[in-house]
Symmetry: C2
């Protein structure tokens, strides 16, 4: 592998460690925990791993000799910057326990465990990947570990390799499944601990006890870099409205963080749209009004940030999609027999009045996409909708109406962008490099402590890493019961943008000014070297969330 | 303006200067020059500014006292990183000549000169913009300075402000017009010098004497960062073919530089496609074969770089577009009267056999776009064609045929990206920050030397800045005669990718390996701090071009 100059320089970076992890540790148990909701139901489903105490580690002067331990590790789901550092921290951690410990990586995600595909991760391999982005050290995948058959099949290879602990690096679903696997292996006395690590660039795996998921910091910094660059272009040319869609379907944390970083003219937050029960037309009206207001002061340019999942948060569109799915399933043959030019009218005539109105308001291309491109189950593929183009087109239409009514007089040219893949595999920022390495090392400490069903945890993250508190959180503590595919399931509660939270409130306080005036900030690219205020800062979301926290 | 931490830290950066510009200088004249071609024609058009000598500056110990001078500056055309540093170097340069010198910026491009829109650039304004990206200090625009009326109108404001020299920062067209303006002001004895500065991220304004245009270095580094990140994602998920289009319509320098930086599986170079007289089908075949070869070894993923201008370099498509323009102009009414479903067949029947074949091979959406979206002159808008989607769709179709013939057995899922606006306004790399500041300072020295019709020049750019050679090149030296809109015009010769040049030869030597194997390199984001091998390297294009140069 030919390495870039930065890769080579970055290989030498030594992550900053919490002081407690720099020597021998002892386990300090907190009080027994409860799940965030549905305590009885969760308790029944996790008889062996429910109600465990939170754990923190404290430094002690004398270390007990420990036996070597074999550990397996899995990368699950979408890539997030820092995964390699979790693995290198874990590696260094189990080698600290005993130099003869071994680490096995299961290949291409949870499927590797079930299919017995793995490789041993030795020091020379680990050293190639320290402080690098990507999940390519062992690959990742989206197979869900859910069934007893998978668990038993996995146990075969764990036994064969004498693996006593499995670390699953993943998002909320993967960690939910880690808890179920932990419970199962405990119940059958398999002798395998399961530890989770909180990963996702989306930032929606966090709660009272997990301050952030790893990868969010780096990914949002990459997006903020390119958004800032586009804003500077926008402010130099002064002739385009840039509509920028940002990855993140189930929450708008990414868009909010980028807005706090870059101060664009407009940023839509899906959670607010849903809470206010806004229609698509209302979202379009708001943008069009901002375009008109800026045009009135001579500014025919601007930047709009749009979260990828917006469409699914608009109650009216959600209702439309649900009815469309039913309608097209029930009358598939009748619909298929229509000439393309007659389909639109047919759909309008067969929908309920409210949904027909929403459907009719959509640009023709989008409407066609909703009825034509369906997934194998016949469902509308919402993710294929190019929301950034949908919105800019509808705004353009509205502006024409406003112009005819004498309420708008300006030029409206648009550019579209979608950022997602650009940030998921960036080299981790110093924050993520430190955080991930620490999470991996802490996972090793949890393994040494003999616990299972825990998530690796580092807290007080706005302090310098040396002051971070390391420990473990029982995964059941983060769970509640939710309906999934018609069944009630125990799942980790997803963290949406909190409309009462400090990051959103800060945004609300500033956004009218950003809309009217041009207040762009240009964060620039992630710096790995240089002054601490440039290179070592955590996300603004984290900073605002923790600003008024009591310690 | 709220500044990011990086903006604040970066404001303190002091560009590295060529040693000759750190004190008083004297002018050393070289031999008289000739234009690169059409010497007689160019000489006739530029009687007052043709054949001037190259100039270099040498350091001298004693400086003569100089009078203050008022200078105007214009940013012309698309943004490129470093424009603000040209202006700050120019500012510092004329203040070094005499502290009472003044700098005026004309607003929103050359139009500002004609319309008398300007602002004085004082020290406090300049200090806000040092080492930043964007052209927002005075804005840019695309008005072409071409007519005597514009020149005379401009002269009014230059006289009013007592401006004795005008610096035009622009690409090949803008510098061509700078030369024409210089000649005109010289001919009428207006007493205004005109100096050009070579700007364009496209990298196509360079020649024997101008080693590179500014902005190319930074922009390609931003693109290489995000391409590298996508490659790492690609290599982790192992399930997508990413088709990445890169800005640059008239040359493929950007794509080539990014390929040298990132080592993608495939990179198309338009100049090669044209030289080999390839058809669109042949380009598609080549990509499809690479996809099939990788699939055969189990790798259903990869990265393809595509220069924005590709379509216009394919001789068959060029011929098709030319005939389509004529056809649709001649039979506009007949075509407009057709039902949309009949248009495709009508076009095929009315084109010559060869062009009809090319047209029929295009995906329907692209074909429709070619006939529907025409510019105000009725011409096909080639820039609207989403080449990345066109190619990936055609490759998919080809793979289906290959699968049916038993020649391909794999999965083919695609992702599309277009990078352009992300890089044009990035904070300049250390290279561009130094280069631009030096170009601006050198422009001031050329003004002090009393010359006109020169381009500011720094050479030996792969050496440390302290060793760069500063001077001026007569713009007429870079010119030849070319047909533009049916007329022969004097223009600066555009630098296309040299298929015999070292950068392209390096690429050709490596590309078969990159295609088959996964040799991705991950350059990471631009670093402004840190080790010199990370933060201070010029582009690989420049390094390869100068590797075997004799000094």
């Amino acid at each position: 592998m030919k390495k870039s100059a930065l890769q080579q320089a970055r290989a030498a970076y030594r992550p900053q460690m919490p002081i407690v992890l720099t020597g021998a540790v002892k386990v300090v148990e907190g009080k027994p925990t409860q799940s965030v909701a549905d305590q009885e139901a969760i308790k029944q489903l996790f008889p062996n791993t429910y109600g465990l105490p939170e754990i923190t580690f404290e430094k002690v002067s004398v270390s007990e000799p420990s036996k070597p331990i074999n550990v397996g590790v899995i990368l699950s789901g979408g890539q997030a910057p820092g995964g390699h550092n979790v693995i290198s921290g874990l590696f260094d951690g189990i080698k600290t326990i005993n130099k003869d410990s071994r680490l096995y990586g299961f290949l291409m995600g949870p499927g590797g465990l079930v299919d017995h595909k793995y490789k041993e991760l030795t020091a020379d391999i680990i050293d190639e990947y320290r402080n690098t982005g990507g999940f390519d050290i062992i690959g990742s995948g989206r197979t869900k570990l859910e069934t007893k058959e998978q668990f038993d099949k996995g146990l075969e290879i764990l036994r064969e390799l004498d693996i006593k602990a499995l670390v699953i690096i993943g998002g909320d679903d993967s960690n939910t499944n880690a808890a179920i696997l932990a419970e199962y292996y405990k119940a059958i006395d398999a002798g395998v601990q399961v530890i989770g690590v909180p990963k996702t660039i989306d930032g929606d795996l966090k709660n009272e006890v997990i301050e952030t998921s790893f990868g969010f910091d780096t990914a949002t910094k990459v997006y903020s870099e390119v958004i800032g660059n586009i804003q500077r272009d926008c402010n130099s040319a002064k002739k385009y409205w840039h509509f920028i869609k940002l990855m993140g379907r189930s929450a708008s944390h990414i868009a909010l963080e980028c807005a706090l970083q870059c101060q664009p003219n407009i940023c839509i937050i899906s959670e607010e749209v849903e809470a206010k029960n806004m229609t698509l037309d209302q979202v379009v009206d708001e943008i069009a009004q901002a375009v008109a207001d800026r045009a009135a002061q001579g500014d025919n340019y601007g930047v709009v940030l749009i979260p990828e999942g917006l469409i699914e948060f608009i109650p009216a569109v959600k209702a439309l999609i649900a009815e469309l799915n039913d309608l097209l399933a029930a009358k598939a043959d009748e619909f298929a027999a229509l000439a393309p030019k007659d389909q639109r009218q047919w759909v309008i005539e067969h929908l309920s009045e409210e949904n027909a109105k929403t459907y009719a308001s959509l640009p023709e291309g989008v409407a066609r996409q909703l009825t034509l491109d369906r997934d194998p189950h016949g469902n509308v593929q919402v993710s294929l909708i190019e929301t950034e183009k949908l919105l800019s087109e509808m705004v353009g239409k509205r502006l024409k109406e406003m112009a005819e009514a004498g309420k708008y007089n300006g030029k409206y040219s648009t550019m579209h962008h979608f950022f997602g893949y650009e940030g998921r595999c960036a080299d981790p920022s110093n924050f993520d490099a430190n955080y991930c390495y620490g999470l991996g090392f802490t996972a090793a400490c949890l393994i040494a402590a003999g616990v299972t069903g825990y998530m690796s945890s580092l807290r007080n993250l706005t302090f310098a890493p040396v002051n971070w508190v390391a420990g473990g959180i029982p995964i059941t503590m983060m769970m509640n019961m939710e309906r999934r595919h018609g069944e009630m399931k125990p799942v980790i509660q997803k963290a949406l943008v909190d409309l009462d939270g400090a990051p959103f409130r800060k945004f609300v306080k500033e956004r009218e000014g950003w809309k009217k005036n041009t207040c762009y900030t240009y964060p620039g690219p992630i710096q790995y070297f240089g002054p601490a205020e440039v290179a070592d800062q955590p996300s603004m979301t984290l900073v605002y969330e923790q600003k008024n926290r009591k310690y």
